[in-house]
């Protein structure tokens, strides 16, 4: 499941923030902010993508670099959230 999440997020980042540049070596732990891959509006695009694609409702407290600033962090965050039943 985690691999699928990561692939899906990676594809979104490449398409939406790197505009199809598949030659960009996007390391799992590379900071999206420090590497200028994502800007302030990009975070909102990322949040919208996560909510739509994975059915996760993100609270304001979730939208922090600790959860969203690398492929690994995003994938781990989605995986953790997905494990919690919606009704919980």
């Amino acid at each position: 499941m985690t691999e699928t999440i990561k692939d899906s997020v990676k594809a979104f980042i490449i398409e939406n923030f790197l505009f199809g540049d598949t030659f960009y070596e996007l390391a799992d732990t590379a900071s999206l902010i420090e590497n200028d891959i994502i800007d302030s509006t990009g975070v909102l695009e990322l949040v919208a993508f996560i909510e739509d694609r994975f059915g996760i409702a993100m609270a304001d407290a979730d939208i922090v670099p600790a959860n969203l600033d690398s492929l690994a962090r995003i994938s781990a965050f989605i995986a953790a959230k997905s494990a919690v039943p919606i009704s919980a």
């Binding site: 505009f19 800007d39 302030s40 939208i63 600033d69």
Partner: protein, 645 residues
């Protein structure tokens, strides 16, 4: 105002060339035109008559016929200079400021520029010494471009006049493009046109038969960080500032035609309008732009200020789609790619001024540079605090206060904002510390550069070059003064005064005048302690103190809302114009060779599907589109590609 072109060297049919050069910039001077030729030299001029309406024709020679000048701009202290020169026995044949420069040069040689208070660029042929003198004002309000071809020096107010010179054709300079996509502007003397340069602000060029020499005659300087300030009493400083600003406005009201004012609804233009209104017994006419998007519109403040001053106020509405309609003209007049659409409404505004029968307007431009009004100054202060106090719990919250008018940022968590602004990460001793977030954000647009362009740039870094151009004393200045220098010395002439100022106004034959850029005021403000300019996080503190009786409190206490216009949003949606689709299409992008066609297509589709509100996507869209239009306008590249497809 006006425009000129000319040469120094050998030209087979100089008169015909000068006529072509001046025709290319006829918009700068619709009232009159003239040419002057001598062996080895020629000057052509188009005139916007403002001072000395009946007797100020140019090129103008002195009584001996040995000195001839072509002049663009205004010398605001020409009345005082003329009185001084008359007292020395000099006799004037005209009432124009142009003749004052001729006499002053005759007295002082090229050092005459140090006495001129004004916005000017001129070319002066000295037949006695067989030399051509080119000069440009201190802050770079008026333009002056030049190129060498087969041993002859050509010069003009706009590059389109130089392109009339046989053998000179437009080709983009990749380094300049990199600079624009990093710094928003080329670093002078470089221009977007390969092998074509601009005379830097506050510089002289002297060309004779032996050589061409360029030198700076004035520098923007700040006191050393720990030097005791001459201005310790805030009340006294405010009083002095008020007197200087009043005089700067007074001498900028000098004209033989009516003078109007731009009124944005912000602090700076309101101050200028208020001072001008008090000096215009016949009443003042004011002009503004309104937007149909609440994020950009300031019409409520404009109406309030116009009503308070009793001005005859007119506004031009910039509606959805208007920017796209005029954008090709904007690029043609700006002569450079731009990353924002902000020049377009100003182009519309100068059209309104002209249609209203005026050709001179005062503007509040320059106050943000001179009195530390830009958000980037506050941002740098917060980032420095974060760098010094890494454990402070205030850190993330401070960034929320910086940009209340940006909807994209309003929704961000404090932690994210701190991360975007690199809080605590950038080294405090970096000379570009204040501008790093902007430079990084802007340079991210270069991801769209083609492989070929990247190869040609070979790792070039515009930010490194900017550092190499800083004066030796820079490191000893207060951080706020360092940031002010970067804005004033590079972005102001390189983007604000050119792309949004001179070129957009002169496209409609309108002269903008800038009281805040009077060099006496600039020097005074540079000497003020930083805390009188940026007090806590309140910008332009001393300016507010000096003018608080002039404005309604709602204007005087207003937090700065930077002038902006809708960017990529202007080009999408209903009624999308064909030229946008063509210019951003794969064939045209590939033909231009500067951008990655596949990536641009994705950006284009992204902006069409979800109007981009992020800085990077907006800047990249506008930058790529304007570069494509530049190629199309000046080289025909994209047009040929579209036709061939």
């Amino acid at each position: 105002m006006c425009g000129f072109g000319g040469y120094f060297g050998s030209v087979p049919d100089g008169k015909a060339l000068l006529e072509k050069m001046t025709a290319a910039i006829a918009h700068r001077g619709p009232d009159e035109q003239g040419v002057f030729t001598a062996p080895q030299a020629g000057l052509g001029h188009v005139r916007l008559s403002i001072v000395g309406l009946g007797d100020g024709q140019q090129p103008m020679s002195d009584v001996t016929g040995e000195l001839t000048i072509a002049f663009n701009g205004e010398i605001f202290n020409y009345v005082e200079l003329r009185d001084e020169l008359r007292a020395k026995g000099r006799r004037f044949r005209t009432s124009s400021d142009t003749e004052v420069i001729l006499h002053l040069y005759d007295e002082m040689g090229e050092d005459c520029v140090s006495r001129l208070n004004g916005d000017f660029a001129f070319a002066l042929w000295d037949n006695r010494r067989r030399r051509m003198l080119l000069a440009r004002d201190r802050m770079g309000v008026r333009p002056l471009f030049y190129a060498m071809r087969a041993g002859t020096l050509y010069f003009a107010s706009e590059v389109k006049a130089l392109l009339q010179v046989p053998g000179l054709s437009a080709e983009i300079d990749p380094i300049a493009l990199d600079q624009i996509f990093t710094l928003w502007a080329p670093i002078a003397p470089r221009t977007p046109f390969k092998d074509t340069f601009e005379l830097e602000p506050a510089s002289l060029m002297i060309a004779d038969e032996r050589c061409v020499v360029t030198r700076t005659y004035w520098n923007l300087e700040f006191p050393e960080r720990d030097a005791p300030s001459r201005h310790v009493d805030e009340g006294q400083a405010a009083e002095e500032l008020r007197a200087l600003l009043t005089d700067a406005t007074r001498i900028r009201m000098r004209a033989d035609v009516p003078v109007g004012a731009y009124l944005s609804g912000g602090l700076d233009s309101s101050i200028v309008s208020a001072l001008a209104a008090s000096m215009a017994p016949q009443g003042l006419r004011t002009f503004s732009v309104t937007f149909d998007s609440a994020e950009h519109d300031e019409s409520a403040f404009q109406h309030e200020m116009a009503a308070a001053l009793g001005t005859d106020h007119r506004a031009v509405a910039c509606r959805a789609g208007d920017i796209a309609k005029v954008f090709p003209d904007v690029v043609r007049y700006a002569e450079r790619p731009v990353l924002r659409t902000a020049p377009a409404p100003l182009y519309q505004l100068s059209g309104l001024v002209r249609d209203s029968g005026l050709k001179v307007v005062l503007t509040g431009e320059g106050a943000d540079e001179v009195f530390a009004g830009y958000d980037i100054f506050k941002e740098a202060r917060v980032r420095r605090f974060c760098g010094r106090q890494p454990g402070s719990r205030m850190r993330p919250h401070l960034f929320r206060k910086l940009y209340p008018y940006l909807p994209g940022l309003k929704q961000q968590s404090s932690e994210y904002l701190a991360a975007f602004f690199g809080a605590g990460n950038d080294p405090l001793e970096d000379p570009l510390f204040s501008h790093r977030p902007r430079l990084k954000g802007t340079a991210a647009t270069k991801m769209f550069f083609s492989g070929d362009l990247r190869a040609r740039l070979a790792g070039y870094d515009a930010a490194d070059e900017l550092i190499s151009r800083l004066p030796e004393a820079f490191g000893r200045w207060h951080p706020l003064h360092q940031a002010q220098y970067l804005e004033s010395r590079f972005l102001l002439p390189g983007y604000i005064l050119s792309s949004q100022g001179d070129r957009m106004a002169m496209a409609h034959g309108v002269e903008g005048r800038f009281p805040f850029l009077d060099h006496r005021l600039v020097e005074f403000a540079a000497g003020l302690p930083p805390e009188m300019k940026l007090k806590g996080l309140v910008e332009k503190h001393i300016l507010r103190e000096a003018t608080k009786d002039l404005l309604p409190p709602s204007i005087g206490k207003r937090t700065k809302q930077p002038y902006r216009a809708p960017d990529s949003l202007s080009f999408s949606g209903r009624g999308e114009l064909d030229y946008v689709r063509t210019a951003m299409g794969e064939e045209a992008i590939a033909a231009g060779g500067l951008f990655n066609a596949k990536a641009v297509t994705k950006l284009y589709e992204k902006c069409r599907a979800r109007p981009a509100s992020g800085f990077r996507d907006n800047a990249a869209f506008v930058g790529i589109l304007s570069t494509q239009l530049w190629l199309q306008t000046f080289t025909g590249t994209s047009i040929r590609a579209a036709e061939a497809a």
